[in-house]
Symmetry: C2
Subunit: 331 residues, 2 copies
DNA sequence: CTGAAAGCGCTAACAT
DNA sequence: ATGTTAGCGCTTTCAG
């Protein structure tokens, strides 16, 4: 592989001049510039990004740390990040933590060692992990999930409001014993959506009943198991609010397997859309999130923080929208 | 951020010794090693991977270049890659080319500039792009798709056989006018699966009819449009074989929208599973691929090539399996 | 406007 | 077994 010195020699200039031409920085004599360009293309010269990164002590890589690459929510989000990143000249390293704090910590260590230009993270671990990035002055944006004890730019959706709307919709549909299948206690979205659900019940004068709440793992299997557990408990619900897309699928699968008609016996609303939701029978009512926009927004915030590291952190909340389909409409 | 010299000074040794301790390479006196470890942890020293990469002139990053991050086929494959990569000490940069040769070329350029340790690519461009990697002696594994003119390790599935089986199954179900919705002509899987379809027809003594073949884009919308075009053409098929998962979804959506009963009037078989296929009505018959294994295998091959760059290239073919569900069973 | 030279942080000969 | 030294390829003062 040709180096900058090979090009310099061939063009009859110094390496510094080649560097200037390649980076279009300083003003270089047109004649010399032309010679450099020719030499570079003749040698098929490609700047060594590693050397450049070392010298500049920064890279052109972003890490996006998500908790489940199998969840279309995250892939759609990543797409939004990528589109902005590419336009801004960054590449995206996608890291899948699988909801495992240890894996997450490994990826954070890698981002640190590789001197990544920035990190977008949907944390599944604790504040300390993310704070290592902040202490190292690596720009960070929290996406989808908050983390107490971490002060960073944040992009969220209106989780409580979305959950409240979904639950209210089930109440309107006549449900009175509404269960909630939510995620792990330490994940902010799980708790916020649970709170929205509780608030809707309260507003309707219905007492909260912890027998109707399950904490699962945000995965299909977890949703399935939680639904089974609800059915097997003495008090069968007449409506279910599941706080993410995969658990909604799991819950419905369980109901289908047991031959329980949805929505006739149990109505279901989920949080976050799934692809081809309209092909699924019954089609699923969900609180739709602007997934792509979530990623886009986070990426824009990260860009801005990179160019202006000292600005105050901010939080953006995007809006969800209830999409009523068959799984919650009786009659 | 502390450097290796800071640690050396604090531990009262040379930088070389610190390096040896950190990398566990040479044998270092236990006493010194202990001092180094203590100094390192006191200073919260983290090796600068960029400097290391420059010095060793290689990195610890793999690029995985896929054509559609929205397709669960690829995300599942990536998961397989990641699991192997992480165990082998590599991080994975996921690059989404969106089936666009220009984007793909940009990512290849980045892999080259960043001196990535290896690349796993499902090519949507031409051989020249991939050959740039090979010329630069970057280990490459082709996954899912072959590319004429590129000699590299390859992992595929038995595309023709799978397609033939799927088509034969439609013939067995009584279909006689079977259409094929396949992908772009320059993508090997599209052509191989088309060939398998044709072979099955021929074996049944049915003449190939190009009016029943459509080349779409491997996306949902493409499958929908192709199905619409087939219906609007004079000769309506009684069976459809779609050569990937998203186009199968699109085709079925079109049939549902037009009120055409599946499988009663038109039977459908797809290639590659979709998540929650059993919740979709009608549930979709598909040729299932070992997606995770595909990624795993590619990653293992890449590991091996990295450790042994001069070994002969090889090709692995994994097996598909027809899963018969409702969309192709009449009665 | 251009070149010489220093050095980013680390590793690997080489020397001791 | 440990230290000294010389770069990896690039950018960026600093001189000229």
């Amino acid at each position: 592989m040709a180096t900058i010195y090979d090009v310099a020699k061939r063009a009859g200039v110094s390496a510094a001049t080649v560097s200037r031409v390649v980076n279009g920085l300083a003003t270089v004599d047109a004649e010399l510039a032309a010679r450099v360009h020719r030499a570079a293309s003749e040698l098929d010269y490609r700047p060594n990004a590693v050397a450049r990164n070392l010298r500049r002590s920064k890279t052109t890589l972003w890490a996006v740390i998500i908790s489940d690459i199998g969840n279309p929510f995250f892939t759609s989000m990543v797409r939004g990040v990528e589109d902005v990143a590419q336009r801004a000249g960054f590449s995206v390293v996608l890291c899948n933590s699988d909801e495992d704090p240890a894996k997450e910590s490994t990826y954070v260590a890698a981002a640190l060692a590789e001197k990544m230009a920035g990190v977008i993270i949907s944390p599944s671990g604790n504040a300390a992990t993310v704070n290592r990035l902040i202490q190292a002055r690596i720009p960070v944006v929290l996406i989808d999930r908050e983390l107490p004890g971490v002060s960073a730019d944040t992009v969220l959706v209106d989780n409580e409001h979305g959950a409240e709307t979904a639950t209210a919709h089930l109440l309107d549909a006549g449900c009175r014993r509404i269960a909630c299948i939510t995620g792990p206690r330490k994940v902010s979205t799980a708790m916020r959506r649970l709170r929205g659900y509780q608030r809707a019940l309260k507003a309707h004068g219905i007492a909260a009943n912890t027998d109707l709440v399950r904490h699962a793992d945000f995965r299909e299997e977890g949703g399935y198991a939680a639904m089974a557990s609800l059915l097997d408990s003495g008090a069968r619900p007449d409506g279910v609010f599941a706080t993410n897309n995969l658990m909604t699928i799991g819950a419905v699968e369980c109901l289908v397997d047991r031959g329980i008609p949805v929505p006739a016996e149990i109505a279901v609303v989920g949080f976050d859309d799934i692809p081809w939701a309209h092909l699924v029978r019954p089609s699923l009512s969900t609180v739709a999130q602007p997934t792509y926009e979530l990623g886009r927004t986070a990426a824009l915030m990260l860009s801005e923080r990179i160019t202006e590291p000292s600005r105050a952190t901010s939080a953006v909340t995007l809006h969800t929208q209830l999409k009523v389909r068959d799984s919650s409409v009786r009659g």
